[in-house]
């Protein structure tokens, strides 16, 4: 199975994936990348009202093959 590396940026710190993970197909890679995002936010609620979370997926050639971001925009209305 091909190996993919998931680098995660929570807006404060980037964690580079050195181990990699095996997935049978591209749709499983996408699922994993999407699943990672809410878990990151759940770990530590963002302290600011603007924040961009992202997951960058590299393949074995170190080429970025998938990129997903989640943007948090929050504001007090009154």
């Amino acid at each position: 199975m091909p190996r993919y590396f998931f680098d995660i940026d929570d807006g404060h710190r980037t964690t580079r994936d050195y181990e990699g993970h095996e997935f049978p197909d591209r749709s499983a890679v996408r699922d994993e990348a999407l699943r990672a995002l809410p878990t990151i936010i759940a770990d530590e609620l963002p302290d600011s009202d603007r924040r961009i979370f992202s997951v960058k997926v590299r393949d074995e050639r170190d080429v970025t093959v998938y990129f997903v971001t989640l943007t948090l925009v929050a504001e007090w209305l009154e």
């Binding site: 710190r13 964690t15 580079r16 181990e19 994993e32 990348a33 699943r35 878990t39 759940a42």
Partner: protein, 253 residues
Amino acid sequence: MATENPLILKLEHGARLTDEDRRLLRSVAVETRLVDARQDLIREGEVPDAVHLVLDGFACRYKMLDDGGRSIVAFLLPGDFCDLHVAILGHMDHSIGTLAPCIVVEIPRVKIEELTTHPRIARALWWATLVDEAILREWLVSMGRRPAHKQLAHLLCELLFRLRAVGRASDGMFELPVTQEELGDALGVSTVHVNRVLQQLREDGLISLQGRLVTILDLPALTRFSTFNPNYLHLRNGPRDHAVKEVQEPRLV
């Protein structure tokens, strides 16, 4: 490495065993079997006629999910009975498999029943079952209420304390022969997330990882971070080094 049987080291925390009790316990743990990593010891639905005891290695209790995934609900370490309750419950409601190569002993049900006629041993076995339940309660709290990074930190603290109780950890160091995927199955989070959290704990100077060797670099900080309190492990002697004293409850036996 301890030379004493890990079962005895463990049960000493649950009852004041006599030399005769120890001799008896040693006598049931003689016919050992080496089992490779990632083998089932027993599957859901089976009706085993023997109770499995882990003497060395790393195993787990798990349930398979509809989507082919696996949920690990307990880690079984040296000195742990895999299925003591089966002597009473009959069929297995979950599976048990090895994660690393294990040395296991199969103790026939009748032998277990015989052991329970000795009051201190009966008490110790009951204690072991209650501690299993207490660990499950703590995992439930972790799963439901602790964010993944604290959940993983909490698990590492637990493993250190449990392995140390059976002489399998020293100086905050122990072997963790499981993959990130297996850790994810135990925490209920994705492999990718396990990787990230492990890296964060390393960057923050709380742990170091060399292959399968985990070193807890700053136990007080790790226990504070994960709100780990070893009271639920009910270890009699408790941890001795000063690093841990501050997290101990005074009422801890």
